[in-house]
């Protein structure tokens, strides 16, 4: 089987490491060879962050390059646009419609592009957008944006719903399991 490439992109501090941990563990349990490449250190301080997850029968490279990603899970609009070049021709971007202004925009040195998702859609990119922040707040915490988005993206993987739930139970701290399950469901059904 061909290697599947997933990217989780967002802003440092949004919880992309937990999302990749969840997905990585699930894929190992499903019997795939898996590689996950993370970013630690400097970029985590509010910078643009990207995590690569690749799985298949035998995976060599831990990273994803231009035009290779089957799925991009974007925690923020601008980051979806930044990494769109990594998307495969028939790939899909699952994106949180939240806007987080980067410092150059905050200090008026740059413009946050208007309707950047529409721009991508017009170019034939399959963009699946949702307001994950509102759903996360409904689930009980704005921090659950990551799990809402994983719920939304889950249908892109040929893995039964129950296995995702088991993976959540195995990954997050016990006291947050119920809240995260709710967040996953809200994303899954959105």
């Amino acid at each position: 089987m061909k290697t599947t490439s997933v990217m989780i992109v967002g802003v440092g501090g949004q919880g992309s490491l937990l999302a990749s941990k969840l997905l990585g563990r699930l894929l190992v349990d499903e019997g795939f060879d898996v590689k996950v490449s993370e970013v630690h250190g400097m970029s985590q301080r509010g910078g643009s962050v990207v995590t690569y997850v690749r799985f298949g029968e035998k995976v060599y490279s831990p990273i994803v390059t231009d035009g290779e990603a089957d799925v991009i899970i974007a925690f923020e609009k601008l980051e979806a646009a930044r990494y769109a070049r990594y998307l495969k021709k028939d790939g899909k971007i699952v994106v949180n419609t939240q806007q987080i202004d980067p410092m150059p925009v905050i200090i008026d040195a740059a413009q946050y592009p208007v309707d950047v998702l529409d721009e991508l859609t017009a170019k034939g990119v399959d963009v699946d957008a949702l307001d994950a922040l509102t759903l996360a707040e409904q689930a009980g915490s704005s921090k659950a944006v990551n799990i809402v988005l994983m719920g939304k993206a889950a249908k892109q993987f040929n893995i039964p719903y129950e296995r995702w739930i088991t993976a959540i139970e195995n990954t997050v701290a016990p006291k947050f399991v119920e809240m995260n399950k709710k967040a996953f469901d809200l994303g899954y059904n959105a």
Binding site: V11, G12, G13, G24, R25, V28, D33, V34, K35, V36, S37, E38, V39, H40, G41, M42, S43, Q44, R45, G46, G47, S48, V59, Y60, S61, P62, I63, T65, D66, G67, E68, L78, E79, A81, R82, A84, R85, L87, K88, K89, D101, P102, M103, P104, V105, I106, I107, D108, A109, A110, Q111, Y112, P113, V116, E119, L120, K123, G124, V125, S142
Partner: protein
């Protein structure tokens, strides 16, 4: 048991299962998690040392005592530990010793992209280089036996993509830690000239023996698939080559970059029509291949800059690259920045406002360099802020002394700032040093250090008193300021710059990301009072932006630090 692990966790597991007794390290991305994972084992001694030189010397002492030992550091940390390294090569070991070093090609979190393989060559110490987490485990575990058999420390080199990539590891059996006998042996361990001169021939003979090992060992492997194309590669470059070339090229994978094999390379080269060398950073393998009189394609095709990827390999071998779709709008950069409520911000605002020349250092506070604060003039290496300031002032005299400071974090001050401060006092420049004491090692992800009062396991430990320490080092004027108090910062900086002797300002407030720090309620903007003057925007706080002409505070980010409302002349920022 199969488990998904980052390379650093696999290195830790390998060291542990190889019978590790003592590990001492200084944190540095991308090496930090090796020691963090090791600290979770209770059957070995783990610690954060004040710097990498201390860490390597602790590992030396433990090895001398008969334990298997290790230290871990980032590439630039090995510069600090280079002094013990070169003579450790002469003494060799008693218990096996492994020096883990993680390079950072593409500089994800570093100030340069130096290639640590030069150190292995220069110090004549064997180096191993895994290509995934399984190899990280296997190589780390086996390194102790290699170290003891050849009587040498062993360097285990990774890079960011190995250290921070997870792949599946199957753990083997753990060997119990054994403490070998210690017997005094001055001829081997007292490296004064008369002894050292007799150890040097041993080092040269050892290298020849290691070269023999390199010809036939588990670390260097050959995959003969084609007699057209042969590729010599190592580490993560091997992964990219396999991803693109699959079984269409023959591959000599080097897992021991020092010393490199001779006959193995000659034989491999003889079996293929065209030979390529694919390695990130410097042409180490390529230079060796060329020195053997073998023609190859290397750096003319594969850049010494940054990281590779499968796309690098595909492009080099003329493969078709996939189509790319991009948005037409310009996508603004999103550089990292100081967090909302970061205690460094108030201090940097003060420096920026007063147009002070500031010598920076290595840590989160390097982010004080970015817009809009633009508060720094230099960042070189750990500790260089203080010594650099002293040199700056020695060159430019009193005028500079009244307008320039050094800024350095608590952990970095422990690492190598103290010696610079001694120099300020001893060689008497009227320098002003600001220690940004946020009670933790921040940038690498919250490690304890000698100023925090806790050790690596979170247990209470001796706590360095920075005020007393600075006084003991010869500085009479030492004062503490709260960086959330802008007026106090301004007064302190102005007074200490004006003082006729060197001084230290300790800007003290714990990192806002520490669990022990409780956020205050978020502030908000009273839009009726906001006059859109944008003064609050000069702080570069990620929680504040302008929306519809008025300042707006993001309540999910704001921790109520109150620095912005001290700036607002219209009392528009309220609780």
């Amino acid at each position: 048991m199969k488990k998904l692990m980052i390379g650093n966790q696999a290195v830790a597991a390998g060291l542990h299962d190889g019978g590790l007794g003592v590990v001492s390290s200084y944190p540095g991305t991308p090496s930090t998690e090796i020691t963090e994972f090791l600290s979770k084992y209770d059957d070995l001694h783990s610690e954060w040392a004040p710097n990498e030189k201390v860490a390597a010397e602790v590992a030396f002492g433990a090895s001398l005592a008969g334990a298997r030992s290790a230290c871990a550091m980032k590439h630039v940390g090995l510069n600090v530990a280079a002094d013990p390294l070169f003579t450790l090569s002469y003494t060799g070991v008693n218990g096996g010793m492994v020096i883990c070093v993680a390079d950072d090609p593409a500089m994800h979190s570093s100030q340069n992209e130096q290639d640590s393989r030069h150190y292995a060559i220069a110090s004549k110490v064997p180096m191993l280089e895994p290509a995934d987490s399984q190899e990280a485990y296997d190589f780390a575990k086996s390194a102790f036996a290699l170290s003891e058999e050849y009587d040498t420390p062993v360097i285990l080199r990774t890079c960011t993509r190995i250290a921070h990539s997870q792949s599946i590891v199957e753990l083997g059996e753990a060997q119990p830690a054994v403490l070998k006998d210690y017997q005094k042996n001055g001829a081997k361990f007292i490296m004064m000239p008369g002894n050292a001169i007799k150890r040097h021939p041993f080092v040269e003979e050892r290298t020849l023996k290691l070269q023999q090992l390199a010809e036939d060992c588990m670390y260097n492997t050959v995959e003969m698939n084609s007699d057209e194309i042969g590729i010599i590669t190592s580490g993560c470059s091997y992964l990219y080559v396999k991803e693109v070339m699959g079984d269409s090229a023959s591959i000599l994978k080097i897992g021991m970059p020092n010393p490199l094999p001779v006959q193995l390379i000659k034989d491999f080269a003889a079996k293929v029509k065209k030979l390529y060398v694919v390695e990130e950073l410097d042409p180490i393998i390529e230079t060796h291949v060329r020195a053997l009189g073998i023609d190859c394609v290397g750096k003319e095709l594969f850049s010494p800059l940054g990281e590779f990827s499968q796309a690098t390999i595909a492009a080099a071998f003329g493969k078709e690259l996939p189509r790319v779709v991009t948005a037409d709008s310009e996508i603004p950069n999103r550089p990292p920045m100081m967090c909302a409520g970061c205690p460094h911000r108030g201090l940097f605002y003060t420096l920026s406002k007063n147009k002070i020349t500031a010598m920076g250092d290595i840590g989160c506070y390097t982010l004080g360099a970015v817009a809009p604060l633009n508060a720094l003039d230099s960042t070189l290496c750990m500790g260089a802020s203080i010594s650099g300031l002293h040199g700056f002032n020695a060159a430019r005299g009193a005028d500079a002394e009244k307008k320039s400071v050094a800024v350095i974090g608590d952990s970095t001050f422990m690492h190598s700032g103290m010696t610079g401060l001694v120099n300020v006092a001893y060689n008497a420049t009227n320098s002003t040093v600001i220690i940004l004491d946020n009670s933790i090692t921040g940038m690498t992800g919250h490690q304890q250090n000698p100023t925090t009062g806790f050790n690596i396991k979170g247990d209470p430990a001796a706590k360095v008193d920075l005020e007393s320490l600075c006084k003991a080092l010869g500085i009479n004027r030492v004062r503490v300021v709260d960086p959330y108090d802008l007026k106090a910062c301004d007064t302190a900086v102005k007074e200490e710059l004006a003082a006729e002797e060197p001084s230290v300002i300790i800007s003290r407030r714990p990192c806002v990301l520490l669990k022990s720090v409780k956020a205050k309620p978020a502030l908000k903007v009273d839009e009726d009072k906001c006059k859109s003057c944008k003064r609050c925007m000069t702080l570069g706080c990620p929680a504040i932006s302008m929306k519809n002409g008025k300042a707006k505070i993001d309540t999910t980010l704001c921790v109520g630090c109150g620095v912005c409302n001290q700036l607002c002349a219209f009392d528009a920022i309220v609780e």
